[in-house]
Amino acid sequence: MTGYFIRRLLLVVPTFIGITLAVFVVMHFVPGGPIERQLMAYKMAVATEGGAGGGMIGGGAELPPAALEELRRFYGFDKPLHTRYLTWLWNVVRLDLGTSYVYQDPVWEVIRTRFPVSIFLGLTGFLLSYLVCIPLGVLKAIHHHSKFDFLSSFVVFLGYSVPGWALGTALLVLFGGGSFWNVFPLGGFRPSNWELLSIGEKIVGQLHHMFLPVVCYMVGSFATLTILTKNSLLENLGQDYVRTAFAKGLSERRVIFVHSLRNSLIPLATGLGQVFGLVLAGSFLIERVFNIDGMGYLGYTSILQRDYPVALGILVIGSLLMLVGNILSDMIYAAIDPRIRFR
């Protein structure tokens, strides 16, 4: 099985090259690159100056060819596409993701500052959904067809069908001050006086600010996980080995929580491999609603502003984490289900 995982790890390399090459090429052909943006900015500036000064006839402003050439060299567009890709790839291998066009900072720094937001949103959402959904699914399976079962299904599916950002707007109107209750702050990732707070105040402040965004972020994920747990457990409770366990004189609790649950969690545990990917978790719309400067917002603006190094940097980290996460999922799968053997 070790051989299998070594092969899987080696396969990461061509997959990674494939993903990045495809994105690199697409970006090359998308109109509105950094040079065009610079030119636009230049024209705008000239036009404004001209309007103010009144001396020049507007519209005829063109960058001198030498300056244009200079710009192209600055962004590396003077070289052919394949050279640029290979240079970029070589830099990535040396752990250099380049410098952001927009922020003029190393890409790694730009992305890294968003990690806390992602980890809070992603990890809290992830842990909470497992902590809530597994017990809820178990309860629903034990009390199958009860009032509680129907009611909780209604609630989780309601959450599933409401978009997180729409819920966010509603929650802000209700709880973010204004016309109703002033319980939670209107937005932001942390209290604005963060540096002045003590540890305890920091924890409380952080939770206070993150509560609504986290609720919105994970409201849709409850249904899948809960229903998966419930159905998986229900299916296992009908298996022959459960009857054997009862016939051995085991308590109902032991049969459910030791024998059945262990089997029911197999499909759920495979999702654990993606836990690494959570450092990049983000949702542009939810971040916008709550005015948080997170990964979703960064990714979205980097594409709009043609900040290629940042967009590619997020892609590099995201795809590597996903590829490794898939392998990790398989490892977890093999570890918890003795019948699974990879060759």
């Binding site: 009857r243 366990a245 016939a247 051995k248 004189g249």
Partner: protein
């Protein structure tokens, strides 16, 4: 009737299932004794209520949809049907244990063989140390003929063949020396050669344990002839005939029993072109005949059969039959179970 007190006395057992098309009376007034040390065969067609009877004894009927509507099951001076769940759990596995038809699915796939055998010991004898439980498990696995039991202890069910798994099931069932083993079609899912081995093994282990009885549920009359001391023939949720195995084969009284025996291919008899069959099929469980349950298929049906259900009477020593053709000899009362707790 023999003078010895039966090990298990079932009186007037009714196990019903609620279905969409009404109440299915799978077991509908069943009387049966299991005597200490005997092998009692319970035979009947699919749907006659054999397995439901077996599951009812240990109260393993899935509820809903099933429930035990009436009856008494006396074991060691206690009515199993009135025991608390806590008390019935103490009986399961320790006093009465059970093996099932499907060895492939009756063991929990994610736990090792050793853990599943040891669980039986540790559940009922919690004072046992893990080392003791392990050595006792290895001991019983050796007794059921599993080669290299110490290695098998750490293997998972999927690493064993069907025959080996059924041996493990027998090991689990017998490790605590129960006084009754209920075997529900234990060989049906196995190869013919393995079937004989498993039956021999059960008889051999029984012989080593004084007083232990086996209730063998099967639809295979050849198996009954080889292994049982007495046979009970079941049809329509009721016992139709009970007799020592030789009596039953030599002198079957109930038309259904005669039909069953006639449908067996014989090596020594004349070679018929076709096997004899019982015409018709088992009546719809929702719509049982009011009189004799077999009346719809009986060639010897006469006037009272359609309307009056015949009682189970002892027509010869130790030979009971439920048929209007065989009334009790004058002077003997209809079969009345000796106990006061009869329905």
């Amino acid at each position: 009737m023999t003078a010895t007190q039966p090990l298990l006395q079932i009186r007037g057992l009714r196990t019903h299932f609620s279905t969409e098309s009404g109440v299915a009376k799978a077991v509908d007034g069943l009387d049966l004794d299991v005597r200490p040390g005997e092998v009692l065969g319970l035979v009947g067609e699919s749907g006659s209520g054999k397995s439901v009877t077996a599951l009812s004894i240990l109260r393993l009927i899935p509820d809903p949809p099933g429930h035990i509507a009436a009856g008494e099951i006396w074991f060691q001076g206690r009515d199993l049907l009135t025991l608390s769940w806590r008390d019935i759990r103490r009986i399961r596995g320790k006093e009465i244990s059970m093996i099932f038809q499907e060895p492939m699915t009756s063991l929990n796939p994610v736990f090792t063989i050793g853990r599943q055998v040891m669980e039986m010991i540790l559940t009922h004898e919690p004072a046992t140390s893990r080392d003791q439980a392990r050595s006792r498990s290895i001991q019983i696995l050796t007794e059921v003929g599993i080669p290299d039991p110490a290695t098998r202890m750490d293997q998972y069910p999927h690493e064993l063949s069907g025959g080996m798994r059924q041996r493990v099931m027998i090991a689990i069932a017998l490790v605590l020396n129960p006084s009754l083993l209920i075997a529900d079609e234990p060989t049906t899912a196995l190869d013919v050669t393995i079937q004989a081995q498993i039956l021999d093994l059960m008889l051999e282990l029984k012989a080593r344990r004084a007083g232990g009885a086996i209730l063998l549920i099967t639809h295979n009359l050849a198996v009954v002839a080889e292994t049982c001391d007495r046979v009970a023939v079941m049809y329509g949720g009721k016992i139709q005939e009970v007799a020592p195995v030789r009596d039953l084969y030599r002198n079957p009284l109930h038309p259904y029993t005669r039909g069953l025996l006639a449908s067996l291919p014989r090596v020594d008899g004349e070679r018929a072109t076709r096997l004899t069959t019982i015409p018709g099929s088992v009546p719809d469980i929702h719509n049982m005949p009011t009189g004799c349950k077999f009346s719809t298929r009986c060639a010897e049906r006469f006037e009272p059969c359609d309307s009056i259900e015949p009682p189970l009477v002892e027509v010869a020593p130790d030979h009971l039959v439920r048929c209007h053709l065989h009334e009790a000899p004058p002077g003997t009362p209809a079969h009345q179970p000796a106990s006061a707790h009869d329905v």
